[in-house]
Symmetry: C2
DNA sequence: CGGCGATATATCGGGCCGATAGATTGAGTC
DNA sequence: GACTCAATCTATCGGCCCGATATATCGCCG
């Protein structure tokens, strides 16, 4: 989900759409590559939901509407209207996350469907959630990877799948999935270790 | 693209939609998991394009329309119409690939965009194309993986990416991509080897 | 000044997915 | 036989996402 990504980025700093896209590319890198055709509608959706809000409208507007010239602003609007469309001149709408948005982010992180891509996004924003949630997400991911592994192995044993290329595809999928599981195991281990280190402090848990 | 997958499966045997989905799941396994919401519209599209054709309408129709009772068939149609929708009773439309469809399959295999998923599909149907095309696809895939590798490495070196989780994500992406490249290299090697073995025959190439 | 590439916002058509609906068949159950 | 229940089978709908496209400004170079 793109909304998760937007909220995760906006939680760090206020940005306008274009910057947002660049940050998304930087953080999610080769995962997802969000396009404007998704980004702007998603921002509008989030704004309608009250999860983000426009913080400022920069530069362009400052030139088009200098202080205390109401009639001039009206002329500018008329000029815009004459040009077939009402699209504003270099509006740079800077968005910020709201309290509702932070709640929504937590909700999106914690709960829903695991569509292969979304795990990567969630991991990229792990800093925004607590250790139990992180561990829960990691374990859920691991179990879905294990299911995938088993399904692929079952498929290999099915008659009708004797094509060498299909075979190669499945063997490689198996290898990759095992590699991923090992990685998740390392992440879980380091998460648990960090948790234990913090547990050797005043507020005692189980010794 | 789902059309490629449908044509690739139908080239092997004639099937109706439901079977088609099961075969797709078997062959593409954990890649893609085609849903009915994509499958049926895609079949209609392909039929409109003349790439596939309905070969037979089985069972249900055989019961509803027994031989030589035109009026009865008319009644059945009226009955169906009364039920708010015209959806046929257990129609089991069996599809087959046409000559145009085979051409379209070759076209889809050879040319277009590389959206990460489509390579897996193409590989699954490699048996349907010749060695030069296979090598071309493998090399294209390798170069896109190399590009991805480089982009991720660039992203790791960018300031602002100091979050440990983002870091972990990128390191793992790098590892996976390298793993994939090694795999592609093996596929290319075995493809070239098979080509050379066949080249030591009557029709001489370059010694 | 005139073009050119980067910045910036936004829409549109079309594909894909998950949810849902409607219908038929076959097996099991009393 | 009547009843239920799961599986089979086709299909649509709303909604999201993407690529292409339109529009407009900004800063830089020659």
């Amino acid at each position: 989900m793109i909304e998760l990504a937007i909220l995760g980025i906006l939680k760090e700093s206020e940005l306008h759409g274009y910057e947002l896209k660049k940050h998304l590319r930087r953080v999610l890198g080769p995962l997802s590559n969000v396009s404007f055709g998704s980004l702007y509608p998603a921002l509008n959706r989030l704004e309608r939901q009250g999860a983000v809000a426009v913080v400022a409208v920069d530069e362009g507007a400052a030139r088009a509407v200098p202080p205390m010239t109401g009639s001039f602003a009206g002329e500018a609007a008329a000029f815009r209207a004459r040009r077939l469309v009402t699209r504003g001149p270099r509006n740079k709408k800077v968005y910020g996350i709201t309290a509702a948005g932070e709640a929504r982010l937590a909700e999106l992180m914690a709960d829903p469907a695991e569509d292969e891509r979304s795990f990567g996004m969630k991991l990229a924003f792990f800093r925004w959630c607590d250790r139990p949630t992180r561990l829960h997400l990691l374990e859920r991911r691991r179990s879905s990877l294990r299911a995938r592994l088993e399904e692929t192995r079952r498929a290999v044993g099915t008659r009708g799948n004797d094509d060498p290329y299909v075979r190669a595809l499945m063997e490689h999928d198996t290898e990759s999935t095992m590699h991923d599981i090992a990685w998740i195991n390392r992440l879980i281990a380091s998460e648990e270790q960090a948790g234990e280190e913090r547990a050797t402090e005043p507020t005692g848990g189980q010794p």
